[in-house]
C-alpha cells in the first residue's frame, strides 16, 4: 500500500479529536467553532471531479471511465506497472437487484480500463458487512461469473491475513486499525461505491465504502466495533489510514430512502470520479440533493482529508445541475434530517 497524505501530516497543533468535536458540535462552539471552520476552509485545496451521464448499465462503461481518467489526468505514465485494487460495495445482497451493490458491469469496466493503461494487475476485494458467506455474495450480486470470465481475482477481506497499523486519523478511541494484508500488495486503491442514502451516516459513498476493507474476523458482522467507536469518526480514521488513490461512484442506479439496504432504487444515471475522495463524495452528495456540509463526516473531512467546498471543486464532464436528482430523505431518520441541499445553490 503506498500513500501520501500531506494534510494528515500537517494536522498542526489542533488535536484531531478536538477538531472533530468542534465540527460535529456545529454552531455550539461559538467564536472558536467559527474560527476552526474558517481555518479548515482555507486549507481546502483546489481539486477536480468528473461526472458522466450514464443512462444504464448497458452503456459503454469502458469509454466513460477512460474519459474520466483522461480528463482527471490519470494516464499510462501513472498506472503502468501498478497493482490496482478495486473495492466495490457488497454490504448485503438481494439477487436480481441493481440498487444495493456496485454492479458487475462497472467493476469489470474499471478493471479493463486499468489493464489498458498498463496496470501490472487488477484485483477486486471486499469484506461484506452483513454476510458471512462471501461466495453467496459474489453469486447473488452477479459478480462471480464476470470476474471468472475476465480472470479478475477476488480477495475476501473478511478472511484475509491481518495487518495492524496505527490509526492515522485519531478521531475515534481506536489506537490501531487492522487492515487486510492485501493492501500491502497493491499500489493503487480505488474505492468503487454505490450512490446511496444511509440511515446512520446520511449518505454512503467512497469514504464510507472503506468500512468494507476492514476484516470481519476482527470487527464482526456487522462491523459493530465502528458503530461503538463512532461511525463518523471511524469513517475518517479509516480514510486517513488507508488513504485511497481514486474513487469511481456507481450512481447509475442508486438507492434512496432507507439506505443502505432497505431503500428503493433511484435512477440517477451518473458516474462520479476523482482522486480526492472527499470531493468525489461531496459532488455525489450534491447530485443526490444532499448538502455535504451537513453530513458530519464530510464536513469533518473538509481541509483535512480533502475538499468539500463547491467553489474549490472544478467539475469536469457534466455539471452537477445537469444530473442532480433529489434522493428521497426520510424525516423520521435522524441522520437524514436537515440534509437537503437548497435548490438553486449550484
Amino acid at each position: 500500500m503506498t500513500h501520501s497524505c500531506p494534510s494528515e501530516r500537517s494536522a498542526g497543533k489542533i488535536s484531531r479529536r478536538q477538531l472533530l468535536a468542534g465540527v460535529l458540535a456545529g454552531g455550539t462552539l461559538g467564536t472558536a467553532g467559527s474560527l476552526l471552520r474558517e481555518h479548515l476552509r482555507r486549507r481546502e485545496r483546489r481539486t477536480e471531479t468528473f461526472i458522466a451521464k450514464v443512462p444504464s448499465y448497458d452503456a459503454d462503461l469502458v469509454s466513460v471511465i477512460e474519459a474520466g481518467l483522461r480528463d482527471l489526468g490519470v494516464g499510462p505514465a501513472e498506472i503502468r506497472g501498478k497493482r490496482i485494487l478495486l473495492k466495490p460495495n457488497f454490504v448485503e445482497t438481494l439477487a436480481g437487484t441493481t440498487h444495493i451493490c456496485t454492479q458487475a458491469a462497472v467493476i469489470v469496466a474499471a478493471a479493463e480500463v486499468f489493464r489498458k493503461l498498463g496496470a501490472a494487475g487488477v484485483v477486486v476485494g471486499e469484506g461484506s458487512g452483513h454476510c458471512r458467506d462471501t461466495a453467496r455474495v459474489l453469486e447473488e450480486t452477479g459478480v462471480a461469473q464476470p470476474l471468472a470470465e475476465h480472470k479478475i481475482p477476488f480477495v475476501d477481506f473478511n478472511n484475509d491475513d491481518l495487518l495492524v497499523r496505527s490509526n492515522a486519523g485519531g478521531m475515534s478511541r481506536l489506537k490501531t486499525l487492522t487492515l487486510p494484508a492485501t493492501l500491502e500488495q497493491v499500489d493503487w486503491i480505488v474505492s468503487l461505491p454505490k450512490m446511496k442514502t444511509h440511515h446512520w451516516a446520511g449518505v454512503t459513498l467512497s469514504m464510507k465504502n472503506l468500512f468494507g476493507l476492514m476484516p470481519g474476523i476482527v470487527y464482526g458482522w456487522p462491523k459493530n466495533v465502528f458503530h461503538w467507536a463512532g461511525i463518523h469518526q471511524t469513517i475518517l480514521d479509516i480514510s486517513a489510514t488507508v488513504h485511497p488513490h481514486f474513487a469511481i461512484v456507481d450512481g447509475i442506479v442508486g438507492m434512496e430512502g432507507d439506505g443502505p439496504i432497505m431503500g428503493t432504487p433511484k435512477l440517477a444515471g451518473a458516474i462520479v470520479m476523482g482522486r480526492d475522495l472527499a470531493a468525489v463524495d461531496a459532488t455525489a452528495a450534491r447530485i443526490m440533493g444532499v448538502d455535504p456540509l451537513r453530513v458530519p463526516y464530510l464536513e469533518a473531512a473538509r481541509g483535512r482529508l480533502g475538499t468539500i467546498a463547491v467553489e474549490k471543486i472544478v467539475q469536469r464532464g457534466e455539471s452537477i445541475a445537469a444530473v442532480r436528482t433529489n434522493f428521497q430523505l426520510i424525516e423520521k431518520i435522524p441522520a437524514h434530517q436537515g440534509l437537503r441541499l437548497a435548490n438553486g445553490v449550484l
Partner: protein
C-alpha cells in the same frame, strides 16, 4: 468406515494443517483457530482418526489465553468469538477437559454491552437480553450467540441462566417473516431480510430448546431457500439447520457433492466452508445432537 464419496475432501481438509498452529483457512494460508475448530469437528464426525485432530486440539490449547478465551489472533484478544467453537472442538477429548472447562467459565461470564430499551430506538429487537458479541465491548449478535448456545448445550449447561438467555435472544432476533440475519429484525420500522448462513446456526442451536411451532416459519424459509443454494457455507448451514429439526431435505447429499465438485470451476473452498459441508454430510441429526452422544450426560 470412511465414506468414499467424501474421502478426497476430508484429505483436502487434513492437508490444510499447518504444523504447530492448527488449520489454515485456505491453501497455503496461516493457521486460524476457527478453521481449526471446524476442521477438527469435520474430521472427527467422519471418524478419520487423523493424528492432525489431536495436534490441532493441542494448538488450540496452546493458544488459549489465561482467562480461558480463544482469540482470532494473539494481537486481537477482543476478537474472542472462536471460544465456543474451541469448546466444541475439545468435546469428547478427555485430555482437554481443563482447557475446555476454562473456556466454559470464560463464556459464562462474557457478554455484550447491553443497551437500554428507551422506546426511542429505531431497532426492533430487545438490546437488554444477554447474549454474545463477536468482539468484546460491542452488541450481541446471532451467530456468536448461536455458537455459545451450541457449546453450552453440548457441555450440558442446558438449565443455566446464560443458556436460557441465549434462547430468548435468538427468539427475539427471529425475523417476523421467518429466518435470521446477522441480528437486526426491524430498523426504522422495516423488516430486514433473512440469510441462510445465519438461519442455519440459529436453528441448529435452538433445536430441542424451544417448541417447533415457535420456529416453524424459519424452518419453512430455510427449506425453500436450501433448494436453490449452491455456495458451500450457506448450503452446509441450511442442511445442518434442517437436520437439527428432523427435516430430511431431498437429495441433500447430491447437492453437497455438486457444490464440492464446483471447486474445479471456482477454485478451492475455504477450510471452514469445506468442513461445514462435510459436517452437513455426516450429521444427519444436526451437529449438536451428534456431539451430545459423546461426553458427560449430567446436566449442569
Amino acid at each position: 468406515m470412511l465414506d468414499h464419496s467424501i474421502r478426497k475432501y476430508l484429505e483436502t481438509v487434513e492437508g490444510r494443517y499447518v504444523d504447530g498452529v492448527g488449520f489454515a483457512n485456505r491453501p497455503g494460508g496461516k493457521g486460524r483457530p476457527d478453521a481449526s475448530c471446524w476442521a477438527v469437528l469435520a474430521l472427527e464426525a467422519a471418524g478419520t482418526r487423523s493424528d492432525v485432530v489431536g495436534r490441532a486440539r493441542q494448538a488450540l490449547a496452546k493458544a488459549q489465553c489465561s482467562d480461558g478465551r480463544i482469540c482470532i489472533s494473539p494481537q486481537h484478544v477482543e476478537a474472542c468469538w472462536p471460544t465456543p467453537l474451541a469448546i466444541l472442538a475439545w468435546h469428547g477429548a478427555p485430555e482437554y477437559e481443563g482447557p475446555r472447562n476454562k473456556a466454559i467459565q470464560f463464556l459464562l461470564q462474557f457478554e455484550q454491552v447491553r443497551t437500554v430499551n428507551s422506546g426511542q430506538t429505531p431497532l426492533g429487537h430487545n438490546g437488554t437480553i444477554r447474549g454474545w458479541p463477536w468482539i468484546a465491548e460491542t452488541h450481541a449478535w446471532v451467530e456468536p450467540t448461536a455458537y455459545a448456545l451450541m457449546a453450552l448445550r453440548v457441555c450440558r449447561y442446558t438449565n443455566h441462566s446464560r443458556t436460557r438467555d441465549a434462547v430468548r435472544l435468538l427468539l427475539d432476533r427471529q425475523l417476523p417473516g421467518g429466518g435470521w440475519n446477522y441480528g437486526n429484525t426491524t430498523v426504522f420500522g422495516q423488516e430486514l431480510r433473512p440469510m441462510p448462513e445465519t438461519t442455519g446456526p440459529a436453528l441448529e442451536a435452538l433445536a430441542g430448546m424451544t417448541p417447533r411451532d415457535v420456529v416453524e416459519k424459519s424452518i419453512v424459509y430455510l427449506r425453500s431457500r436450501r433448494e436453490h443454494l449452491d455456495t458451500p457455507m450457506s448450503l452446509a448451514w441450511a442442511i445442518l439447520g434442517l437436520h437439527a429439526w428432523q427435516e430430511r431435505p431431498e437429495q441433500a447429499q447430491e447437492q453437497i457433492l455438486r457444490v464440492l465438485a464446483a471447486q474445479d470451476q471456482y477454485g478451492p473452498c475455504d477450510t471452514i466452508s469445506l468442513s461445514l459441508l462435510l459436517l452437513a454430510w455426516q450429521c444427519q441429526t444436526g451437529l449438536v445432537r451428534s456431539l451430545e452422544h459423546t461426553g458427560s450426560q449430567d446436566d449442569k
